[in-house]
């Protein structure tokens, strides 16, 4: 498994190189994630009713839809965070870089190093800022202090937080503001060096200024990462995403380039939702 993952990471690096020279070819590239007829049940309740879709690499894909439409559940399939939910059952195939992540032999821990996640409410550990970012590395068994320090600094810089916290890395993460905490959570995710980042309404608990900062950050990050973001904010989806998927009652109603979805959606249902006529 470890070897398989190395190959995956190498492939990903090649993708990144290609991207930086030729951004237009994004749509013709192989999908980063490929979902085939995914169905999810919680006990008797069917939350996802057979969704198939391809997620493009190095782009921001937004999942929109009313509460309870299954978009968060669908997002959490990609790093298998639903596994802990009581009564969770899943059918169908999800392939990341061609490897089925629901195969028996998959190590969930390895998968999650490849697929990071940022949550709705900032959830730093009740530890120091440094410890928060270093945690993902320490659990991988990395003990080289210099290497950890370098990766922590790099991640905090990527998350645009370094300048604000570089002098008090030993301070408790809980002393930071909400927006800073969320950027710390992003830094923590980046430190593990994933290739995909899942974001579950990452700005819904933040003020407009902090939100703008996170949005800028997402824009910068998509150069290197594949980002999927769940959002209730239509403006946010149109501002930051390249592709948008509209979910309703566990089904994928429409999925297209964001521009198309917001200017000339194919389905009436989608139009009604994005113009705020329901939902």
């Amino acid at each position: 498994m470890a070897k398989e993952m190395e190959v995956v990471i190498e492939k990903n690096n090649i993708n990144t190189l290609e991207n930086s020279t030729n951004m237009e070819s994004v749509s013709s590239q192989k999908p980063k994630i490929s979902v085939k007829n995914a169905k999810v049940w919680y006990g008797d309740f069917q939350a996802i009713k057979g969704i198939s879709m391809d997620i493009k690499p190095n782009a921001v894909t937004a999942f929109i839809g009313p509460s309870g439409c299954g978009k968060s559940t669908f997002l959490r399939l990609f790093n298998r965070m639903n596994d802990y939910v009581d009564g969770f059952k899943m059918e169908g195939k999800i392939k990341i870089e061609g490897a089925n992540i629901y195969k028996k032999k998959i190590h969930v821990e390895e998968l999650r190093k490849e697929v990071g996640m940022v949550f709705q409410k900032p959830n730093p550990f009740p530890k120091s800022i440094f410890e928060n970012v270093a945690y993902g590395l320490k659990i991988q068994g990395i003990t080289d202090r210099k290497m950890i320090e370098a990766r922590v600094e790099k991640a905090l810089k990527q998350a645009d937080l370094w300048e604000e916290v570089k002098n008090d890395l030993k301070k408790s993460a809980l002393a930071l503001s909400g927006g800073q905490q969320q950027r710390l959570c992003i830094a923590r995710t980046l430190a593990v060096e994933p290739s995909i980042i899942l974001m579950d309404e990452p700005t819904s608990a933040l003020d407009p200024i902090s939100t703008a900062k996170i949005e800028d950050l997402i824009f910068e990050l998509k150069e290197k990462y594949t980002i999927i973001i769940v959002t209730h904010n239509m403006q946010q989806a149109s501002r930051i995403s390249d592709y948008t998927a509209f979910f309703y009652l566990g089904e994928l109603v429409e999925y297209n380039k964001t521009k198309t979805i917001f200017t000339k959606p194919e389905k009436k249902h989608t139009e009604n939702y994005i113009t705020g006529r329901f939902g």
């Binding site: 821990e109 390895e110 999650r112 990071g116 996640m117 949550f119 009740p126 993902g136 923590r188 593990v192």
Partner: protein, 284 residues
């Protein structure tokens, strides 16, 4: 009198009644401690703590009983702390919620209510007789461990439950295994609550008398225990023994020993309160 005035009057009356009820317990405790202090404080000196038991009250000391209590305290901690915490972690983090875990849960709560003398009888049969440990420190500590295990389990589960699920999510999402999440995040975050529960349950164990008498702790032991299989006495049994003597000197000794025992338990409770406050601050 108008209705409003009657209501106000009732309100005042109930307030006074409430204050009285609150004070009853406190006043009794103050009177008791005052009485004990008057009787025993003059008796406490270095010799009282370091002397071996004696038939003459002025020569008798609590050395063997105090050492016995410390031995029991230490061994009980070593046995009950890891066992109780491990059981709580299993029940909270691993056990599937279902009929089996519900039955376990109810029974653990029930165990917390079983009278201590019953634990004594259990210890006598299993540890002293079947396992052949005799009336030893180890048998006594095992018995007390059984007694406080339910308290430790319940306290630990409560503090593990208080750790927000978002912390678990964050840890798992970074690629941590269940074990790493428990060890690196959940236990440190709940350590204050766990320590509080453990210390409070241990301070209860220090004061227990009945189960140890049943197990066979002796009132008169010439030497402090040197290893876990030695016979032993503990402070409460020493106090019980002295109070039943006719000479006035022994009553004084008993009062002095009570002061020492209270000091030990108050100190332990103080440490518990300190940790609880420190822990509560963390989540605010």
């Amino acid at each position: 009198m108008s209705k409003i005035r009657i209501n106000r009057w009732k309100d005042q009356l109930f307030k006074i009644w409430g204050i009285t009820c609150t004070l009853i317990g406190l006043i009794l405790l103050v009177v008791f401690i005052g009485d004990i202090l008057i009787d025993g404080i003059m008796r406490i000196d270095w010799g009282f703590i370091t002397n071996l038991p004696s038939r003459k009250p002025e020569k008798a000391g609590i050395y063997t009983a105090l050492m016995g209590s410390l031995w029991v305290l230490g061994l009980t901690t070593v046995i009950a702390f890891p066992t109780g915490v491990a059981a709580a972690i299993y029940l909270e983090e691993y056990a599937k919620k279902g009929r089996f875990s519900a039955v376990l849960e109810i029974n653990i709560s029930n165990l917390a209510g079983v009278p201590s003398i019953i634990y004594g009888l259990l210890g006598l049969e299993i540890f002293v007789r079947v396992l052949g440990l005799g009336a030893s420190v180890l048998a006594g500590s095992l018995t007390l461990s059984l007694l406080i295990l339910p308290i430790i389990i319940v306290a630990t589960r409560e503090s593990i439950k208080a750790v927000p699920n978002t912390i678990r999510d964050a840890s798992y999402a970074l690629g941590a295994s269940k074990w790493q999440t428990i060890w690196n995040q959940i236990l440190p975050a709940s350590s204050g609550g766990i320590l509080t529960g453990v210390i409070l349950s241990l301070s209860r164990a220090v004061g227990e008398t009945a189960p140890l008498i049943v197990v066979g702790a002796l009132a008169y032991v010439p030497f402090a225990p040197g290893n876990p299989l030695d016979e032993f006495s503990v402070l409460p049994i020493q106090i019980f023994n002295w109070i039943s003597r006719p000479q006035h000197g022994f009553i004084e000794n008993a009062a002095a020993a009570i002061i020492i025992l209270l000091l030990v338990t108050f100190m332990m409770n103080g440490v518990a309160v300190y940790y609880r406050n420190k822990w509560q601050k963390r989540w605010k």
